[in-house]
Every structure is written in C-alpha cells, then in structure tokens.
C-alpha cells in the first residue's frame, strides 16, 4: 500500500471510529426518547448527519460495504427525520445492528486494510423492508399559514420544512427571532440564544444576514417553534437583545402575539476585512498516544535534571555563601522548577480524556448480553465528564465490560424472577464515575439478587480455597470471589463463563495501581467500587528507608506518618500492631516483607538507627478500605518521580509497582500499596486455608 493510501486509510479509520462512537451514543439517546415517548427531532437529525458523513467518507475511499450500508441507513434515517416512517423499537434494533457491523468493517479495515468477509446484504434487506413502512397520515398543514418572505422560505432544507410543518401540526406557534452580534463572538453568543430557546421549543432554522450599517456585526434570524405565547418568547430573547416576530397568520389558540420588532438593517456598507486566520478553524489535533508517551519521558528526564539543579543550587549556596553566582543559580533553578511543573501539568492535561468515551462501547456490549440472556436491563451511566489518562481508559474498558457482563449475567434476575420478588421486570445496571482527590472512583452496581456469602463460602470450600471451619467475616467471604480460579456460577453461561474471571479483573485494576472492593446486600444488589489514580505517568512519592534501602511510596496511598517508640508496638496473634486513635493498625516491616538483610539490633525488632534514638517511623498507608502502618527507619522527603516498569527479575514480586530514578542516578523501588497490603492479609489469613 502506498504511503498516501496508508495515511488515507488511517485517517478514515480514525474518523469512522469517532463517528460510530457518536452514533452509538445518539442511537442510545434515541432509544431512551422512544421508551419515554418523546423522540427528540434534533437527535434523529444528528444520527442522520453522522451516517451521512460516514457514507461520504467511505465512498470517497472506495470502502464499498461501509458505503452501501451507510447509504441505505442514510436513506432510512432521512425518511425517519422527514416523518415518512415512524420511530420504532425494530428500527432501533436495526440501527444497533448496523453500528455493530460498521464496527466490524472498520476494525477489519484497520487491521488488514480491507473490509473482509462480513456480509452486509441481510441487514441492508431488512433496512429496505423497514424503509417501506409508512407513517400514519397526518393532518394537512401548509407553510402558507406562515408570514414568510420568499427568500427565507427558499432557504429551508427539506428537513427544516418538515420540522416547521410538524410543529404546525402540533399547533405550536412559529416565531422569527432576530439577534445581532459582533463578528468575533457571534458563534458563542448565538449558541447561548439557541440553547435558551431550545429549552422551550425548537430552533428550526438559523439564517445569517450581513450587518449592513453595522459592518462589524452579523445578524441571524432564528425560526423558532414553541407553544409559548409571544410575550414569553420575547422575555426569552430579551437578554440577548433579540427582536421577536410572530410568523403564524392564523391562530390555533390563545398565544398573544407581540408587536413586530425593528427590521433587520439592510446591507449598505462594505464589510470590514477582519484578520481571521486563513487556515482551518479547527482547534483540535489528534495525537498518537505513543508520541505523548515520548514527550512524557522527556518531561521525566527534565524532572530529574530539575531535581539535580535544585540540589546543586542549594549546595552552592550553602558551600559558597550568598555569592551572585549562587544567587543566580538558585533563581534559575526555581524558575526551571516552576516551568517544568507547568509543562508536566499541561502534558498530563493533554493525556486526559473523559471516561464517557467508553460508555458507548459498554452500552453496545451490554445490549447484546442482555438480549442473549433474555433479560431487561436499564443501563445507566453518570459522570461521563470525569477525566482519566487515555492509557488508563484503554486499559480499564475490558475490566469494566466484564463487571457489567457479570452484573447482567449473574446479578440481575430474569424478568420472571424479578416479578416474583416484587421487583420491576427491568433490572438496573449503573456505572457511576467521579473524582475524589487524586483518584477517580468508578462504581458498577446492579439491583439484582446480590451475592450470598453462604454460597460463596460453600464454593470456596469445594474448590479448596478455604478450610470448612475457616472463620470469615461477611466481607471476607464476599471477597473470595476475587480468588484465582474461583467460580460460584452453578451453570457456566455462554457469556460470563468465558474469558477472564474476577481475579483477572482485579489483577488488571491493580496493575493500574488501582483497587477494587465489592459490597453486596443479598436480594438488593451488588456494587463494585474501583479506585484508580488519575494518571500513571508521574507520581508524587514519599521516600523512606528500611533495611538500609530506599523505597518510594505513592503519596496517594499515604494517610499520615507517625513517630512511635518500640514500646508502643503491641503483639496480637504473633503480629505487630499499633493502636492508633482507637483502631488497631497492623504493622508491616518493609525489610521483612522484602526479605532484606535483617538489621542487627538488641531487641531484634528495631533497626540500628531506630535503636539509637529509640524512635520508629510509621507511615500509615491505605488502599481502598485496607489500612496498615509501614514501619521504616527514616523518612527521606517527598519527590516527584517518573515511574518505569520493573525488569523481569523482580516482576513476580508482590508489593512493587515499578522503579524510579532519583536525581543522584539512584534507582529506587516504588511500592504498590494495594498488592502489598493484600500480600500481608494473605499471609495473615494463611492459617484459614487448607494445607496441601
């Protein structure tokens, strides 16, 4: 494939994916409107325009199957938006099937450069059949009922004309709202007006006209349909300086028609030549994430240089006193510090994308799963604006999909089962995202049968995960579902029985330095709560020393640090604990966890440094609901680091997130508090497991 063709193909795939994503969300919105009995014409028109764009694109690049399918869809949607066929659930199903097929075709084009063996004919036949339907004959209305000049009337598209007639059929009044704005702000201002008007009706057409006597202005005549009386429409338009003119010549009912507004000034003077940029006005660019990763690595190196420079400047000031050179060096180091921080923040910001981007994918998959399960599911999303690093978004899609799949497959009962339990036939599966401090929390919940701890326990005993008489709390029992190989499903279904289990979901979340917890109430439902860091790229860490080695603890996991005496450490069941504000905090000695050379000390439990001054440091760390205190010899300060993956030698060790390089060319291990705490809990509950 030539370079140009390859570039065109990549551009097509990228644009097509974006269109299909948008399409998917809009069709879901259409379905919601249909269920509520209020399909928004603007949504239908948007779906039509998306398919229209895809068709134009595919045709231009010779992708025949995409082109054929989108052509037929465009025709169907055109008939729908013009009121020639009625909206129906059958149509929604066809739209979703089409999106699925278009996705397959685009994926094939992306992978192998061609559309592959997918057959679009069966679906296009269904589309043709549906397009033959007829909408019910509506009461006859006419544009002659409106006081419109010939020029305005000619500028209506077929769709706008249909929307006008449809509003007349619904006995809505039609108004002309005239607004004028300065040329440099008109689009933003006009959006405010149309948004305000669309709250109370439908802006059908937006006709621009020149400023005339006011060459720096541009005027717009909005054709607006609403059931509001004229004085209310005037009140709506007044904050924007808009004039309102009633256009309906015959009255349906009682709308009070206001006095005509001042006419739009005629064009008399030459329009001023602005200094607008002659390039495309688009303000966004698409960037390959690998390129951003490369920039991020450079920023990481800059952070190291900045740290070294700060250290050297302080050293120069302390060794040589307040010389002009030392002063300048400190000043330069501080400036660099500020600029690197700003650069870093900007790059992280560029990498951020709204989590809502994956909602459409999840929604499509959920639809399919619920159809195959013959379950009725109301899938709800909220918090789509919550932003996460693009890389994280890519990585969490599959774990989220698995949890939604589980909720539909195992959580929500069948419609009959729900009826018997007095629940509505339609189950609710919800994904809710929100930011909390430096983390993003995602909750995936269902209102199904919940997890029954006795069933989990029974299955865990059968699978030799726990001994029959193990003493487990309600939460410990439920958390057994995350054990490798655990399955409580009596029947391995077609869907959830395949692929990864919850242990893999958990491993994936933990690989992203996140944590997952499950809460369940038998009969009421289950919620999985996932906490993720906003980005993996740069970490703020607390440096500590233990067993003569330095470790980095991500600050997001640190609650507080304490200084205690060895005597304050108590022992419960041979484990060290510390009573912190009426809570028993398990203690972990890092040098023991990582089997580092045990430091010699009189007591055998404290390090030489601690033994010397009789004090120990405890860093209280937390991952989801688990807390523990890390006992260390020294706190060595906070620092920003760029985290890199660990080499193969250490990759099997629990408790490690990666490695970072400090300014002095020293490599330091970064702790993964989630897996470290889990490792300790594993060890502490080992007594409960059967011996092999």
């Amino acid at each position: 494939m030539s370079r140009e063709k390859e570039t065109a193909r990549r551009e097509f795939v990228s644009e097509a994916e974006e269109i299909i994503e948008a399409l998917s969300g809009d069709v879901a919105g259409f379905e919601t409107g249909l269920k509520a009995g209020a399909v928004k014409p603007a949504v239908v028109n948007k779906i039509f325009r998306e398919v229209h764009s895809l068709k134009g694109l595919a045709g231009m690049l010779g992708f025949e199957k995409v082109s054929t399918l989108s052509h037929d869809l465009e025709d169907l949607l055109d008939r729908l938006r013009l009121g020639k066929i009625p909206p129906s659930h059958g149509l929604v199903n066809i739209l979703f099937e089409s999106i699925e097929l278009l996705n397959q075709l685009v994926a094939s084009i992306s992978r192998q450069g061609e559309e592959g063996e997918v057959d679009v004919v069966p679906l296009t036949s269904q589309i043709h059949t549906l397009a033959m339907q007829r909408a019910e004959a509506a009461e006859d209305v006419s544009l002659d009922w409106l006081d419109l000049d010939e020029s305005t009337r000619k500028s209506f598209t077929e769709y706008e004309e249909h929307r006008l007639l449809e509003n007349l059929r619904q006995q809505n009044a039609i108004y002309g709202v005239t607004v004028g704005f300065a040329f440099d702000v008109f689009d933003a201002e006009l959006k405010k007006v149309t948004d305000a008007l669309n709250e109370e009706g439908e802006v059908i057409s937006t006709l621009p006209s020149s400023g005339g006597a006011e060459p720096d202005k541009i005027f717009f005549r909005l054709i607006f349909a609403s059931n509001l009386p004229g004085d209310k429409v005037e009140a709506l338009a007044a904050p924007f300086g808009g004039g309102v003119q009633p256009l309906l010549k015959r009255a349906f009912g009682p709308p009070t028609l206001p006095a005509p507004p001042p006419p739009v000034p005629e064009a008399e003077e030459t329009l001023g030549v602005g200094d607008a940029d002659l390039k495309s006005i688009s303000s966004t660019v698409r960037v390959d994430i690998q390129k951003l990763d490369a920039v991020m690595n450079i920023v990481g190196e800059l952070v190291l240089s900045k740290t070294a420079l700060l250290r050297l400047s302080r050293q120069a000031a302390s060794e040589h006193g307040s010389t002009p050179l030392a002063f300048e060096l400190v000043k330069a180091a501080r400036t660099l510090d500020r600029k690197v921080a700003a650069l870093q923040a900007s790059i992280i910001d560029v990498r951020m994308v709204p989590i809502g981007q994956i909602f459409n994918k999840l929604s499509r998959a959920a639809r399919k799963i619920s159809a195959r399960n013959r379950k009725k599911i109301d899938l709800r999303f909220s918090g789509g604006d919550t932003e996460l690093d693009k890389v994280m978004i890519e990585e969490i899609t599959n774990p989220f999909l698995h949890l939604i799949r589980n909720a539909i497959d195992h959580g929500v009962e069948s419609p009959e089962g729900r009826r018997e339990r007095g629940k509505p036939e339609e189950g609710v599966v919800e994904l809710k995202a929100y930011q909390k401090g430096n983390s993003v929390v995602v909750e995936i919940s269902d209102d199904g049968s919940g997890i029954r701890p006795e069933r989990i326990r029974e299955a865990a005993v059968q699978q030799d995960i726990i001994v029959p008489d193990a003493e487990l709390t309600f939460d410990e029992c439920i958390n057994l579902i995350f054990k490798p190989g655990f399955s409580s499903a009596k029947m391995v279904s077609d869907i959830s029985g395949r692929g990864v289990g919850l242990d893999v979901v958990k491993a994936n979340i933990m690989r992203l330095k996140g944590s997952i917890q499950v809460h369940s109430e038998p009969g009421q439902g289950t919620t999985f709560q996932i906490v993720l860091p906003i980005t993996l790229a740069i970490l703020q860490v607390l440096l500590v020393e233990s067993g003569g080695k330095r470790f980095a603890i991500p600050l997001t996991s640190v609650s507080e640090s304490l200084r205690i005496t060895p005597e304050q450490i108590k022992t419960v069941e041979h484990r060290e604990v510390y009573h912190l504000r009426d809570q028993t905090l398990p203690l972990i000695r890092l040098e023991r966890f990582f089997n580092l050379a045990a430091p010699e000390s009189p007591s055998g439990t404290t390090s030489p440094a601690a033994a010397r001054n009789g004090r120990l440091f405890v860093v209280v760390v937390q991952a989801a609901e688990r807390r523990a205190g890390l006992v260390v010899e020294r706190l060595a300060g906070e620092q920003e680091v760029v985290i890199k993956s660990i080499g193969t030698t250490l990759s099997g060790l629990a408790g490690l997130a990666g490695v970072c390089e400090l300014g002095e060319n020293e490599l330091v291990l970064v702790l993964d508090i989630g897996s470290l705490l889990e490792g300790v809990l594993e060890e502490r509950s080992a007594a409960a497991a059967p011996t092999t």
């Binding site: 077929e158 006009l190 607008a276």
Partner: protein, 134 residues
C-alpha cells in the same frame, strides 16, 4: 503574467468532515495550478472567513451542524459583497431535494458524493473560468 497563465484563485471549502475537507483540498491543489484553498469546518467558520479576503469559489456541503449549506448560500446571495462568488454544492444523493433548493437559491453547480478528483476538477475549472488540465 500571460493571458494563458491562470490567475491565482482562492477557494473556500465549507465541510464538516475532516477527511472530506482534506480530500477536497489535496485534489484541488494537485489538479489546479495556482489555487489557494482555505477550509472551514462549519458554516460559522465559513462566515468568519468570508470577509478576510476575496474568494473566487465556495464549495459547500449541505448537511452541517450549525448553519447548513442552504443558509450559507442564502447569506452569500443576499449580500452584495459575496453575490458574485460561484458556489459548488457537494452532497450525497439523499440530499437531492436540498440540492435542487440550493440551485434555486443561486448555487451554480453540484457534485454528488462520492466523486473522484477528475470529476471535481471538471466541476470546479469552469466555475473559475479555467480549462481542465488534459
């Protein structure tokens, strides 16, 4: 400049699909000498660009998100400063009725999507008062 040398021409493209804009831009620059192509990703962007220079051709799609192609054509034809600019509509077959309306409003020609670069040149060259390249 000899009479055979085409005059420099500025073409404004109003099209909301980025790949389609790129295709139009590349095809026009490849096939026509001495043209400058300016692109607008929406009808609003086109409105803002119009006063910035003298355009010899507007190429517009019909279905666009803010103001559509017909509204843009109406604006040009009612404005004495832009009334003379030839207009080419690029649209799909489904917009046939709208294309007719565009021609009635004063557009000069139309081209059905999809089209190839030769067809584009054939449509554009006469509107710029040029002969097609052989």
């Amino acid at each position: 400049m000899t009479p055979e040398t085409p005059h420099a021409a500025s073409i404004l493209i109003a099209e909301d699909s980025a790949p389609m804009r790129n295709f139009l831009c590349a095809a026009l620059e490849d096939r026509l000498d001495d043209v400058e192509v300016v692109t607008a990703e929406s009808g609003f962007a086109a409105l803002r660009l119009l006063p910035s220079r003298s355009f010899q051709l507007l190429i517009t799609d019909i279905n666009m998100p803010d103001i559509n192609g017909l509204e843009l054509i109406h604006y040009l034809r009612e404005n004495e400063h832009y009334r003379h600019i030839p207009i080419l509509i690029v649209s799909t077959e489904a917009s046939e009725e709208d294309r007719k309306r565009g021609l009635a409003l004063g557009a000069d020609a139309y081209l059905n999507k999809p089209f190839d670069p030769e067809a584009l040149e054939s449509a554009v060259a006469p509107l710029l008062g040029r002969k097609e390249k052989s």
